[in-house]
């Protein structure tokens, strides 16, 4: 009893205040480390750039937003080859990954390897990404990986395609046209169409037969898929890349881009596209198409598995046709790119994983997940829808027709801006001219 009554008074008010003050001070110091001014040293590829994989027990942490079986499959296969390396995967859903990866990579506990996404270009001037060019030379990545320009950045991180190499693309994705074969046969549609105009004629026929011609959802901006491939078809590759890669003084206010926007708007206005498209999410559109709704759907090869599962033998695929018959096939695509943290203590092992992604072993895993492997020859041949997609890919590689998504590296905010502007465009709130001007103003805010 007595000791109980005694103890509070033995802790005097001064002690109490000192203690609170001390805790507060510690908290403030901790904060000031987080405040602007976080310094980071330029730690670009230090040490020997050999292709030797460390033999001691180490741990690699991999952060990604890959919802297919590719990344986990590659990690499993890599683990089997290197039993001394413990690989830990940190998976985050796509939207949350986009918003959180920059803070994750800035932390002292940054993962060794991370999937590179749009917005991460800010990490380059912050020197939080490892320049892997020297490893690339040692491993010979230039001949192993296609599309390395998409992860080559200038020191300010604002321009893509020139500068230093920051990673590799393990699985590549691209967009094309899925269609419901059974319905196409029923409606007497001749596929694949030779030109964009032919495709639009098929849409008109499907619409006349009472079908939804093009299944789409724009609640979260899913119309960017048709718009991106239309831009690929109409714009010159030079204009397209200059803008998508954020080259200073590039513009999207071009007659060809206006044609692309007008085409998309016409498809909506003529009733080819899913009605009330602004109220349908992109995932729901894929699900509806896989359940047998509508005739066509423009989406990426990541949707192949879901479409094949839903439609079975009725699922078909063809590449987005060019503007003029016999022209080169151009489409929009990206890839699952892996980059390495400049804070990684196991850069050599991380580089070994990047190199592993180009192996024949990896190609099997990548192909199974529905992606195109860097080593196209090593991909097992597939039948059905996945086979159609794969042969479509071969044409695109032959025509060198893979172009970047305009929202991925033009500016960090372009994803949101494109979604907003597409909703305004198809909702009849802005003209194609104002739509393009809206995109351009975001571009100029960032690249001023």
């Amino acid at each position: 009893m007595r000791s109980m009554s005694h103890s509070p008074s033995s802790l005097s008010r001064r002690t109490f205040l000192t203690a609170t003050g001390a805790i507060g001070a510690v908290a403030l110091t901790a904060c000031s480390e987080l405040t602007p001014g976080a310094s980071s040293s330029d730690k670009s590829s230090t040490g020997p750039f050999s292709t030797a994989v460390p033999a001691d027990k180490i741990t690699l942490v991999v952060a990604d937003a890959d919802d297919t079986t590719m990344t986990p499959g590659l990690l499993d296969a890599f683990r089997e080859q290197h039993p001394n390396i413990t690989v830990k995967r940190q998976y985050t859903g796509w939207d949350d990954y986009l918003k959180s990866i920059n803070t994750t990579m800035s932390a002292d506990t940054a993962p060794d390897i991370a999937q590179f996404t749009s917005g991460m270009q800010n990490l380059v001037p912050g020197r939080l990404l490892l320049k892997v060019g020297e490893y690339g030379k040692a491993y010979g990545w230039a001949t192993k990986f296609p599309g390395l320009d998409q992860i080559t950045l200038t020191p300010d991180g604002k321009t893509v395609g020139t500068g230093d190499l920051y990673g590799v693309g393990a699985g590549l994705s691209f967009e094309g046209v899925y269609y419901n074969k059974a319905k196409a046969n029923e409606l007497g549609l001749t596929t694949p169409p030779a030109t964009l105009a032919d495709l639009e004629a098929l849409f008109a026929k499907a619409r006349a037969a009472g079908e939804t011609a093009l299944v789409a959802g724009n609640l979260d901006g899913g119309l960017n898929h048709p718009f991106n491939v239309l831009l690929s078809a109409y714009l010159t590759p030079k204009d397209r890349e200059a803008w998508a890669f954020g080259h200073r003084s590039a513009t999207i206010v071009l007659p060809e881009a206006k044609t692309a926007a007008e085409t998309l708007l016409r498809w909506v206005d003529k009733g080819y596209v899913t009605p009330k498209v602004n109220g349908v999410s992109d995932n729901d559109a894929t699900a509806a198409f896989a359940k047998g709704e509508g005739v066509f759907r423009i989406s990426g090869n990541w949707a192949a598995a879901a479409v094949a599962k839903g439609l079975g033998d009725r699922a078909g695929y063809f590449n987005m046709p060019p503007v003029t018959a016999g022209g080169k096939v151009r489409t929009t695509g990206a890839g699952v790119y892996y980059c390495v943290s400049s804070k990684s203590k196991n850069a050599a092992a991380a580089a070994a994983f990047l190199d592993f992604a180009a192996s024949a072993r990896a190609a099997a895993v990548t192909a199974k997940a529905g992606f195109m492997a860097p080593d196209a020859g090593a991909m097992p041949s597939q039948t059905g829808l996945l086979g159609d997609v794969q042969s479509g890919w071969e044409t695109i590689v032959k025509d060198a027709g893979l172009q970047p998504f305009i929202q991925n590296s033009s500016t960090p905010t372009m994803g949101d801006t494109l979604t907003t502007q597409l909703q305004l465009l198809v909702g009849g709130k802005v003209t194609p001219e104002k739509f393009l001007a809206g995109l351009q103003s975001d571009f100029e805010n960032y690249h001023k």
Binding site: S100, T419, K429
Partner: protein, 328 residues
């Protein structure tokens, strides 16, 4: 007044205010005997501070310091990664001139209708009905059902209502079933209806909370007042307007404060259902702060916006409390 005087006047007052413990406890053992009242008071103050510590410490660490930190960040141009540059009040200037932000402020204001006015009306009527039927069968169930939305995480609520509002969702199915299929719309994708649609989700969530607040208030009201009113021939409606509503003033203040905060700082519901779309028709300050800070790499502007939002909400709550304190 000297400390000695204060001691003299303070002791009896305290004796009146707090009944002394009937059995000797630790507190009592310390107070009697050798210790002076002065050291006792100091000790009690220390004890009081100690009791505050578990709440004060996390509050300081996780609310006060981050708020100060945000205010500090709002003076910098910072992308969250590289070195920042001090820009003074520029970020605040940028907020003032942003047309998107004006739209967001307007939408947040409109949400007050759905998050505050409607739920308070619904809650009040529900409370009046439930309290009049107190004890009868089914009132417990009604109370539970109305309060249930408050228990569901807002993210789940958002997903649920996305299905309700979908093109082939329950709402449109119901409209078609009663022959009003012409009215059916993809509600969340409509420039006209998206904001009211999202707002009504808020009404659905908050009404139950308001009802419970008002119910507890009606239990506080002396039944004799109602009996007297009935003697004078007042019906249920008259009772409601002349007794229940005026006497629930403190509950109104609480309900209004909570719901106005919810309206102005809304984020999760809108993020899940529309993400601010279509176009910018449901953009609110919370969505803009999130976009700017995490996607757009404009941490300084986002912080400035957050500080302004906090200030606006604080002023709104102060005004509500000041008004509610005045006598009817």
């Amino acid at each position: 007044m000297t400390t000695a005087d204060r001691r003299l006047t303070a002791e009896p007052a305290r004796a009146l205010a707090a009944p002394r413990p009937t059995k000797p406890g630790p507190d009592r053992a310390g107070r009697g005997g050798r210790r002076t009242a002065r050291s006792g008071r100091r000790r009690r103050r220390t004890v009081a501070l100690l009791y505050l510590l578990p709440a004060l410490l996390p509050y300081t660490l996780f609310s006060v310091l981050p708020l100060l930190h945000t205010a500090y960040l709002s003076f910098f141009d910072w992308d969250g990664v590289t070195l920042p540059s001090f820009v003074g009040l520029d970020n605040y200037g940028r907020i003032g001139s942003d047309p998107q932000l004006r739209a967001a402020a307007w939408h947040a204001g409109a949400l007050i209708l759905f998050f505050s006015v409607l739920p308070i009306c619904v809650g009040l009527v529900a409370a009046a009905l439930v309290s009049r039927r107190a004890g009868r069968r089914g009132t417990g169930l009604v109370r539970t059902v109305l309060f249930l939305p408050q228990v569901i995480p807002l993210v789940a609520v958002g997903i649920l209502w996305r299905w309700v509002y979908a093109e082939d969702g329950i709402l449109n199915q119901a409209l078609r079933a009663v022959g009003l299929g012409g009215l059916a719309d993809a509600w969340l994708g409509s420039f006209t209806w998206a904001l009211p649609a999202v707002g009504l989700i808020g009404t659905w969530v908050v009404s139950g909370l308001c009802m419970v607040l008002f119910l507890s208030g009606t239990q506080r009201i002396d039944q004799e007042i109602y009996e007297a009113a009935r003697m004078d021939g007042a019906g249920p409606v008259r009772e409601f307007w002349s007794i229940t509503v005026p006497l629930l003033r403190p509950e109104f203040a609480v309900a209004l404060s909570i719901t106005v905060i919810a309206a102005l700082s809304s984020f999760d519901l809108i993020y899940i259902t529309t993400g601010g779309g279509p176009g910018n028709s449901t953009v609110v300050p919370g969505i803009l702060i999130y976009r700017l800070a995490f996607g757009g790499g404009a941490v300084g502007v986002a912080s400035a916006l957050a500080i302004v939002l906090t200030a606006v909400i604080s002023v709104a709550v102060l005004v509500i409390n000041r008004l509610s304190r005045e006598a009817p």
